[in-house]
Subunit: 430 residues, 2 copies
């Protein structure tokens, strides 16, 4: 195990040094692009910001918002928020897109359209709808409202920026979508919401330095996680349960799921990341975790400190049974629940990894982002998988192009219909 992991980490450092395709995320913490902070200020002048993107162009944005912004950020007053309301259009679902249209004044809204290729179907479809609504509000030139984040040269979005003169940022050509959160893809909307993006980058940079100095598997938390993931997958545990004890990390789990699944799910390999939130999922998935098949590795993610909220003494005699809670913190209770649940799983001989993180602020969130990117990349490189490509999603895209009538994809449409016809369809209709 030590041999393959060392190989993984050597490949990572070499790829980063050579600035190979895929490895560009390694340098993002230390190289914020020009005009980033002034563009954030521009965004903060709007009533609303809509991020139009999908996958790596949306999950990181939601992850940062959930982790660092008020859970009901959009419901606060403008003064309380300090910045614009924030929406994410990351599905081709007419209900979701219509709902965002209901909430915004198109002329007072900034649209951050992010697609590395500049042609992602769902993103471009939503973009057409929002552009149309902007035009319908009398705005002839979209340059005052639209900002694109895309490849330096390729794709429709780059051409659009040139044609309309709208603001634009690059996704560096060596950075893949799921590793792009610390580029303008993720930083602009975070900054617009008042997140300290400089601290995010500093935290990531500090983690980069810290990991570079680690020696040997046991002293290196990233290597411990990579080794555990590989070991338990080989033992038949094909599920990796990502269970932070913090509601704010709910979307972090989804960001991690994409990172892990898309980077490592190839060549028949790949543990399936499963999202769980402590303590909530103790009342949902724990029964399966404890008494179902022994097919999971558990990652508990537990903050070592948090702002707490004290539980008062029950003031009604009917609640006297709860006196054991009096004067204790809700957060301390959550910490003890994490410990208890981990212990109960250990009693059942289920493998548990206990990851401690400091308090959840921008600096430490940046560090966590870099940590999990590093672990994921090393794991892939150790296993001879390319952690930066995603060839498996192309087939479905070609089928969709074909079925949508895009020229050049006619045979794909026929093939899609043929495969589809063999599916067992059942109707849960009445």
């Amino acid at each position: 195990m030590e041999g393959i992991l060392n190989r993984g980490s050597e490949r990572l450092l070499e790829g980063a040094r050579n600035k190979d395709v895929g490895f560009g995320w390694f340098d993002l913490p230390d190289s914020p692009p020009e005009r980033l902070f002034e563009t954030v200020e521009w965004l903060r002048g709007f009533d609303s910001v809509v991020q139009i993107g999908i996958g790596g162009s949306a999950l990181g944005n939601r992850m940062i918002s959930s982790a660092l912004c008020h859970p009901f950020y959009n419901e606060l007053t403008r003064k309380e928020r300090g910045g614009p309301r924030f929406y994410i259009a990351d599905n081709a679902d007419p209900e979701g897109t219509s709902a965002i249209l209901d909430m915004i004044d198109p002329t007072r809204t900034a649209y951050v359209v992010a697609s590395k290729s500049g042609s992602t179907a769902e993103t471009m479809a939503n973009f057409l709808v929002f552009l149309d609504s902007l035009a319908g509000s009398g705005v002839k030139s979209p340059g005052g409202n639209v900002l694109v984040v895309t490849d330096k040269e390729k794709g429709s979005l780059r051409s659009f920026a040139e044609e309309t003169g709208c603001r634009s940022f690059q996704v560096p050509s060596t950075v893949g979508g799921r590793y792009s959160v610390l580029s303008p893809v993720g930083l602009l909307s975070a900054g617009a919401q008042g997140v300290d993006i400089n601290s995010l980058l500093l935290g990531a940079s500090a983690m980069k330095s810290s990991l570079s100095k680690k020696k040997g598997i046991s002293g290196d938390p990233a290597m411990v996680m990579a080794a555990s993931a590989i070991h338990h997958f080989r033992k038949g545990r094909n599920i990796i349960t990502f269970m932070p004890y913090s509601g704010n990390l709910d979307s972090f789990s989804e960001w991690f799921c994409q990172l892990w699944a898309e980077s490592l799910g190839k060549n028949g390999w790949g543990s399936t990341p499963l999202k769980a939130i402590g303590a909530t999922d103790q009342h949902s998935q724990l029964q399966l975790f404890a008494e179902g098949p022994d097919d999971k590795l558990f990652l508990f993610i537990v903050p070592t400190s948090r702002r707490d909220l004290l539980m008062p003494a029950p003031s009604w005699s009917s609640l006297d049974d709860l006196s054991y809670l009096e004067g204790k913190g809700l957060g301390s209770m959550l910490d003890l629940e994490a410990l208890s649940t981990a212990a109960a799983l250990v009693k059942k001989c289920r493998p548990v990894l206990w990851l401690e993180i400091p308090v959840l602020d921008a600096f430490h969130l940046g560090a966590m982002v870099f940590f999990f990117e590093y672990v994921t990349a090393v794991t892939g490189l150790a296993l001879d998988a390319d952690p930066f490509d995603q060839p498996g999603v192309e087939q479905g895209k070609r089928y969709t192009y074909g079925l949508m009538g895009r020229s050049g994809f006619e045979s794909d449409a026929a093939e899609a219909r043929e495969h589809f016809s063999s599916i067992l369809g059942i109707s849960a209709c009445l």
Copy 2:
């Protein structure tokens, strides 16, 4: 297979007929409790409603809201909403609970506290915090703001209702938490938000009648799903991917995950429900689905009709490549993406089940709820598992009580610490 499934469905009908413990959900659609509709009207008079519950006392509430209410319901004006804002306190996380406190005027808020046992630790802890905030606002008697939903006789919440004279509803003793969404546990908050709860019940009742008339496995969609789940688990596919193509069903997946995981994860059996949303997760998990291990059964959930949003012609020549989208619907595109993704998985020889549902309204959501409850219960009963208990979560609860210093649980605290000490802890700190 047909034999064990028939046994499962016979056991279900017999248990329902005898009104055995656990089977009470079967009759919920046809027996709304008295005072339900007048209590909904009472709730609608408040500025905010907070549901205090966890697991089955929260997931169903969120599921109905997501499916049927405006995605930004709380951000709408009171007039647009028609009802109170709605919050759910379903974790012992001080950040989440504090955030709700930030948003409400305690005196203008109704608190629906739901716990079948009347003693769920996280729920009671949050309840103490909200009660204290209400008292701090000068409200001496909580009866004007608090409503409890709990067992008819047992537990602290029932005693509290008697002591304070606050409104109360029962969770019928034969209904388990995860099957309780069509009881006051789920219906009150839904009604408060303007959901047509009568239609929800009618839809569930119609599905009940429809399933009762089905004969033979192949003509019965519930049996097809149960048979597929059992077959593929036996073939080593220990993950069941629940993938609706509708953003509104995001929380339905989480509701289903609890139902399936807690009902079937026992005795070493139990496929792990995995949440995915189409088309969004095509850009997140699809790579793993297509090229990772062949360890999943895929359930596509696709509405057969939806309100659509047309894509306009691109008005900039740089976007001419998108002309294939012109005049098509965003929803039609989503439907074709579902078809394409299913076809691409079939090409890779991955098993796909295609579940069609009608348009997403209260009637059909109620039908879906009953459908999945029925499938889950039949699957468990067919496999000789009790789909209505959850013995595996008790150990962790005892450990938490012990660590919190509740008397009578001292030895549990010691045992928890001992097991915990054997866990591999790593620090992702700097």
